[in-house]
């Protein structure tokens, strides 16, 4: 079943800015979907239209088969939204924010309180339920927005930069939480600037730039497109010069580490065999750039160059 279907969606703001130039997207139910793009690409506009906070200029949007033009209330009932910017009533208590949201979705008082407790406990905010939102840290406010979005248990959860400004520990715990929510059957659409986040969590990815979709495929298919990868090796001894490695480009970095670039036709076993043969020992290794980040930059750059040409 299709959780979200977008056809030829356009948006032109009053100032003439054409934020969306006819995008098409299809998100399958149960998917974990990443919508990536540079600032101003149109991600937040697209999410705003899906959640009916922004009026579209043209095109069609359906959420679990409910058109936002003809069956808006049913479409809205399927969606939970975590916006990019904090939009909490800062003078309201944490508990009331979540139970009020449940009320807006028609949940009775008893069920609203049960759900609020469930999600506030899960997101480690239960102890702060009596405090006003203003007193929470940035990370806590983000978690509160997630609890608020989940209280009616939506079939489609949309998160717009949910981990922006959140420390690493909380980010990791949020990833685990989102994975668990997705495994329980909730379709998730995520926008993020942390491409590592998208690569770790998402099974499908779309890249949007200047209002058009420039890539839309399974994550595995996208990563296969990468032609070259660069690894940084920490060595147990210092080298005077980069070793000659057949089929690999190797160079010494200023900090004494060895940077090795490999093509798709070579494997790492071959690299280590050659290093062993030259008595060069590796203590650790890391990927120089996030693979998705590299692809993202390549796609966006190619589009820019194409436009310039």
């Amino acid at each position: 079943m299709t959780a979200l279907s977008i056809r030829n969606l356009t948006k032109t703001y009053k100032n003439g800015n054409q934020a969306l130039k006819g995008i098409d997207l299809s998100v399958e139910a149960g998917d974990f979907y990443a919508l990536l793009g540079p600032n101003g690409a149109g991600k937040t506009t697209a999410i705003g239209i899906i959640s009916s906070l922004v009026n579209k200029s043209g095109g069609e949007v359906e959420v679990f088969g409910h058109s936002i033009d003809t069956d808006l209330e049913a479409a809205k009932a399927c969606i939970g939204i975590v916006p990019q910017e904090v939009n909490l009533n800062l003078w309201e208590s944490v508990g009331n924010i979540v139970t009020n949201q449940a009320g807006y979705y028609g949940l009775g008082s008893k069920l609203a309180k049960q759900r609020a407790e469930k999600y506030l406990r899960t997101l480690r905010l239960w102890d702060r339920r009596g405090d006003i939102a203003r007193s929470l840290s940035g990370g806590m406010k983000r978690r509160l927005m997630i609890a608020r979005a989940l209280v009616h248990e939506p079939r489609l959860l949309i998160l717009d930069e949910p981990t922006a400004g959140v420390d690493i520990e909380i980010r990791r715990s949020m990833w685990e939480f989102l994975q668990a929510i997705n495994e329980s059957g909730t379709t998730i659409i995520l926008t993020t600037h942390y491409l590592e986040e998208a690569e770790s969590l998402c099974r499908h990815i779309a890249i949007i730039d200047e209002g058009t979709i420039i890539e839309d495929a399974r994550m595995s298919a996208i990563l296969r497109k990468l032609q070259r990868e660069v690894f940084v090796l920490s060595l147990t001894q210092e080298l005077a010069a980069a070793p000659a490695l057949d089929g690999f480009d190797a160079r010494l970095r200023g900090d004494g580490e060895l940077e090795v670039e490999k093509g798709p036709d070579r494997d790492l076993n071959d690299l280590f065999a050659q290093l062993n043969a030259q008595d060069i020992h590796v203590s650790s290794m890391r990927n120089k750039a996030n693979r998705l980040e590299e692809l993202f930059m390549r796609l966006v750059d190619r589009k820019d160059n194409g436009a310039a040409a």
């Binding site: 959640s51 906070l53 922004v54 003078w91 309201e92 009320g103 979705y105 009775g108």
Partner: protein
Amino acid sequence: MNIRLNLIAAKTIIRKEIVRVLRIWVQTIVPPAITMTLYFIIFGNLIGRRIGSMEGFDYMQYIAPGLIMMSVITNSYGNVVSSFFGAKFGRHVEEMLVSPMSYATIIIGHVAGGVLRGLLVGLLVTIIALFFTRLDVAHPLVTISIVLMSSIVFSLAGFINAVFARKFDDISIVPTFVLTPLTYLGGVFYSISMLPEFWQNVSKANPILYMVNAFRYGILGTSDISIGHAYAILVVFVVILFSACMFLMQRGIGIRE
């Protein structure tokens, strides 16, 4: 439309509004009580004694219904405009806009909040008035229906003001430059029969005159205008203003990009 969902949602908004009014009672309840006490002392007690009677009632008795209505109008309007604009400004209006409740429910919930605050303050001012004068309610049904409808009208007007407001200054312009002058010129402190005929006719274009006089009729049994006209005007205003609110919400004016 899912009626059960919308009833629960409306109840949620009303409860949230009541909590807000009571949480900031120093801003919402105390100032009108102090202001009206001063009106009763200065206009009713000190100046009123020299004025003597008006329409057969002592001046304090005559102005009391007008002052009660004035506090209901300003507080109903003020509650909705500040609450809904505050939600827009803080962006938590999005909590309601993304939910499946209807736009009518959002409007009715906020209007109900405005009416409840207006009636609460009106009741408080009535209690204060009873310390200064005697008030016998001549027509209870007229009194209740007029105060309720007037409160609904000004809550709807406050909602429209909030929709158009872009900054905090915008929510004080209408109360300062429109609402207060119309209220003062709406027969709160005098009978329009005291005015020259021309100004009597001008006064009759002021809708607040009808609300104040109809309310005064409900309490004292005297009025400068026809009660039937007052009801007709109130019904027309409720219909027009509610339709305007619905139009604004459906088009997303002031609340959606």
